[in-house]
């Protein structure tokens, strides 16, 4: 790796100061994207700001209205946290899907989001859980809806000097379920050919909320708003699910690469959407 300076602030203010006036500085969480990129010469930074000594970024807290997940909490702690497993089981599952055990010891959900890869496994799920990102920077604290966070491959909505503090996940209502499904050619340790996150609430036999988001079929994780419109107000049924899956398939803008041709990805969008929706609606 090219030489760089390293600081490990212990408070949000210190981190804001460290990043201020240094637009090329990079935040370090688990380093499973950043250090791999820097070692490979795909990224350079004169200054690396390690945020893992700031308590806010390392805490998992149940609050009144939901869960506050520190941006740098490693996946292994999320996957084994009793509150997360009980109330956000799909999040615990996605945390145990990223990489393998040793990667999960470092990789954070915040890093997965900030890295803004189209294939990031946690992002579709965060979108369907209606997560909100809390961001700190020179202008203070602000919030960004997760569906607006990734703006291009490897680019996020953070402004100069800003960093992600935590993610807030609203408390699931009664009858709420969420699920993430990905297709990879092996069982473990691979990049999603297609990923589908879905969530829905069914109250008295009627769908009251529904969200669907896709990975690896567009320049950013893709929130398919049409699915919400198509499902809310309907009764869960095979026809409703098929209709929503067709919308997901139509919304996908896949490319062909070494992992799969575009037509195959589009087909998978439909299949996985149908399966994931069936899992939460029936």
């Amino acid at each position: 790796m090219k030489p760089f300076d390293y600081v490990a602030p212990t408070t949000l203010d210190e981190a804001v100061h460290a990043l201020a006036g240094n637009p090329a500085a990079r935040v370090l969480a688990g380093g499973t994207d950043l250090l791999a990129q820097m070692k490979g010469g795909r990224r350079e930074a004169p200054l690396v700001v390690d945020v893992k000594r700031i308590p806010d970024l390392l805490s998992i807290r149940m609050e009144e209205g939901g869960l506050r997940l520190g941006a740098a909490v490693p996946c292994i702690r999320i996957a084994t946290n009793a509150d997360v497993r009980a109330q956000y089981p799909a999040l615990a599952e996605v945390a145990s899907l990223i990489g393998g055990t040793a990667i999960q010891g470092r990789a954070s959900i915040g890093g997965n989001l900030c890295n803004a890869a189209p294939s990031a496994d946690a992002v579709p799920l965060l979108i369907v859980l209606s997560a909100v990102a809390r961001v700190a920077g020179p202008g203070g604290i602000r919030e960004i809806a997760v569906e607006d966070f990734c703006v291009a491959p490897g680019k996020n909505a953070l402004g100069e000097g800003e960093f992600l503090v935590d993610l807030f996940l609203p408390k699931p209502a009664a009858g709420f379920k969420a699920h993430y499904l990905r297709f990879i050619p092996r069982n473990e340790m691979d990049i999603a050919v297609v990923g589908v996150g879905v969530s829905a609430t069914v109250t008295d036999g009627q769908i009251t909320t529904a969200r669907l988001a896709l990975a690896s079929v567009a320049p950013t994780p893709l929130f398919v708003r049409e699915v919400t419109e198509a499902l809310v107000g309907k009764a869960p049924s095979a026809e409703a699910i098929a209709g929503a899956a067709a919308l997901a398939e139509a919304a996908a803008k896949p490319i062909s690469d070494m992992r799969a041709p575009a037509e195959y990805r589009r087909h998978l969008c439909g299949v996985l959407s149908r399966r994931a929706l069936t899992a939460v609606l029936q």
Binding site: P3, L28, T101, A102, G105, R106, E188
Partner: protein, 161 residues
């Protein structure tokens, strides 16, 4: 670039060293502290041959900076045996011929120990999934899984005795 002073607990002993921020923990262990049991395979998190425990959590040391270890506790393959007495996993790897060239072995043993420390009786599927972050070019994995199962059994029996 200016070097940074780092102090950490390494295999139960305090150590101090100087590291450039861009040096990985793996480089610091091997090149500065001369503990060469931890191996470098891919250098990018895929093969697991550089696995160590950092504050009790299994990590790939090729994707950790040495300076991040300040104040932390690190356990490497050199810290697994009790003096001259091999850990049951080390013995089982030998008895079950779970290695050929051996470059993956330190990583597998550190990773398997992390599993057995928290789950004394994992299923075969659990062992295989847990070790999916470790690659072996030689053994075909089966003997490794058998060795881990045998070591788990021995550790359980030792505990009961």
């Amino acid at each position: 670039m200016k070097k940074t002073y780092v102090s950490m607990q390494l295999n139960g002993e305090p150590v101090e060293f100087l590291a450039e921020p861009s040096q990985t923990l793996l480089e610091c262990l091997r090149d500065t502290l001369h503990l060469t049991g931890t191996k470098e395979g891919c250098g990018d998190g895929n093969c697991g041959s550089c696995c160590v425990m950092l504050d009790g959590t299994l990590v790939t040391s090729c994707l950790v900076l040495g300076v991040e270890a300040e104040g932390r506790t690190v356990t490497t393959i050199e810290g697994i045996a009790a003096g001259q007495k091999l850990h049951p996993l080390q013995k089982a790897f030998i008895d079950h011929a779970a290695l050929q060239c051996g470059i993956c072995t330190p990583g597998f043993i550190v990773a398997a120990k992390a599993l057995l420390d928290q789950e004394p009786d994992p299923s075969e599927e659990r062992i295989r999934l847990w070790l999916a972050n470790n690659l072996c070019r030689c053994t075909g994995y089966d003997k490794i899984v058998r060795a881990v199962q045998a070591a788990a059994k021995e550790i359980r029996e030792e505990k009961q005795a």
